[in-house]
Amino acid sequence: MDDFYRELIIDRYKNPQYRGILNPHDISFEDDNPLCGDHIRVDLRVDATNRVTEANFNGHGCAISQASADLLMESIIGKTLDEVKSINRDDILEMLSIDLGPVRLKCALLSLKVLKAGVYGLGEATDELVAS
């Protein structure tokens, strides 16, 4: 159990590096995890070659969802949008380096769902976006 709350996760939850709002932004999207009421918004700035130059998240939720959002924002800076589209759930699990049951997996993947829905320009963040 305590493995869930590794230093990295508690640190990122308490002192996120990429929390904020980017205004103006090139891409912005937000959605909820209806199961627990967690909410995440992702803002991106993208250069002329479709590469992410800045990424921020905002919202509220548990340590797993917030830490995973923070790590995800960090990981996509410098990536092209096509590369962002190819991020999947295993990448998130690797980043967090924890094993998650089906309920908490939704917390961990919320930010990726929101990010991909924004990048694809969809109206809704669906589970299909993060299927492995």
């Binding site: 159990m1 305590d2 709350y5 627990c36 009421g37 967690d38 548990c62």
Partner: protein
């Protein structure tokens, strides 16, 4: 001191012997979501399948007779348990949600018209909000809500003023699944009837935990689920006043709910079968009958008194923890539900760390998003208690919350 022999009661529930991690026993504090089941319920269902399983109401062979008898005996025991004048007024559904939907889709659809007022409360479970939203969209009825005070009680002054709108229906929860508030049901019903309204009571949390008698309450409908009262999942109850049920159109169409069927018409069956289309949850009804027997033998008064003692102790202990805030009224106004927040820690994380210590609580909005919106919080952690919970388990919960604080340096 305590009115129940809890040690003895705990021995009736096999799952309570379970260790969640090696050497770490289960501390089950999630009975508001679903209760655990005593051996008598498990044995009754197992025995039913092993000895007499058959479909009911049609066959004439021995097993069919026995199964029909067992199913109808469960209905009779349930009628006695809630003080229904007749077993015919006890309709088996899937759960509380389906019971409320049944009323919305049959009574509501045929009795409500554009502009009619339906009064709900701000503390309703989604199951007593969404069916009315759906009907409101179809019929253009008007929904009004009795406010919840900061203390977590219904604002009866607001209620009295809403009654001046001459509502057709008042539908409210007897006991809140988040705040634990036990609402003054008899008073709410008396006022509603005086204003000419029909009353539906959501008894999902009250019937398992308090003595509930439909004739003393004088309610028109009472909806509740078996699985929160030591019975199985998959079966619930709708009690209804006879004249109302008889006048209502059927709900689902199919087998068993008809008297006669022709190619171009049908005649509905009599009560209660009119509302029980298709093969019902037969073994589950048998299990529910056993659950009712079990609760009766322990005594609903004694169960309620025990939970009062546990919740009073839990609120006192939770208050001692710096950073913890508990929602809902004082112990004397509520049942065994403690929803709380811990400063700077999300409820999901509280639940996860407690699980590491074998403690099962619920985290989230508990299917009551409007109530959480009102208090401006996305989610709460909820510990809830039943006849098998002890003061020692409350102590473990408190120790567990201190552990959460250490992990989060909160």
């Amino acid at each position: 001191m305590d009115t129940l022999d809890v040690t003895h009661i705990r021995a009736d529930f096999p799952v309570l012997e379970r260790e969640i991690h090696p050497g770490v026993p289960l501390v089950y504090l999630d009975s508001t979501a679903t209760s655990q089941k005593p051996s008598v319920v498990l044995d009754a269902m197992d025995g039913f399948y092993r000895c007499c399983n058959a479909n009911i109401h049609r066959g004439v062979h021995t097993l069919a007779e026995e199964s029909t008898g067992a199913y109808e005996l469960a209905r009779k025991r349930m009628a006695e348990f809630i003080g229904s004048p007749s077993p015919r007024q006890v309709i088996f559904t899937r759960n509380t949600t389906e019971s409320i939907n049944l009323v919305a889709y049959t009574w509501g659809r045929s009795n409500l018209k554009a502009g009619d007022v339906v009064i709900l409360t701000e503390m309703e479970h989604h199951s007593n909000i969404v069916p009315w939203h759906i009907l409101a969209a179809e019929k253009n009825i008007r929904l009004e809500f009795i406010s919840v005070t900061d203390e977590g009680l219904l604002d009866l002054e607001i209620y009295r003023s809403l009654l001046e709108l001459q509502p057709k229906l008042v539908a409210f929860t007897h006991m809140s699944n988040v705040l634990g508030t036990v609402n003054p049901a008899a008073e709410i019903i008396r006022l509603a009837h005086a204003a000419g309204a029909v009353v539906l009571v959501d008894g999902a949390q009250s019937v398992p935990h308090l003595p509930v008698n439909v004739q003393l309450l004088d309610c028109d409908f009472l909806a509740f689920s078996a699985h929160k009262m030591c019975g199985p999942t998959g079966i619930g109850v709708l009690y209804g006043r006879k004249a109302l049920l008889e006048a209502m159109p059927p709900f689902l169409g199919g087998g068993d709910m008809i008297k006669r069927v022709h190619l171009r018409s049908f005649t509905p069956n009599e009560l209660p079968y009119k509302f029980e289309a298709g093969t019902p949850a037969i073994a589950e009804a048998v299990g529910l009958g056993a659950a009712v027997g079990y609760l009766t033998s322990v005594g609903m008064e004694a169960i309620s008194a025990h939970e009062q003692e546990i919740i009073a102790y839990a609120l006192e202990r939770l208050k001692e923890i710096p950073g913890v805030s508990v929602f809902g009224p004082r112990a004397e106004h509520k049942g065994g539900v403690a929803s709380f927040m811990l400063k700077d820690v999300h409820p999901h994380d509280i639940a996860q760390i407690l699980d590491g210590q074998g403690i099962a609580i619920r985290a989230g909005h508990h299917c009551a998003m409007p109530l959480h919106e009102k208090f401006g919080i996305p989610a709460t952690a909820r510990a809830s208690f039943y006849l098998y919970n002890t003061r020692e388990e409350v102590d473990k919960l408190v120790e567990g919350i201190y552990k959460v604080k250490r992990v989060f340096r909160a």
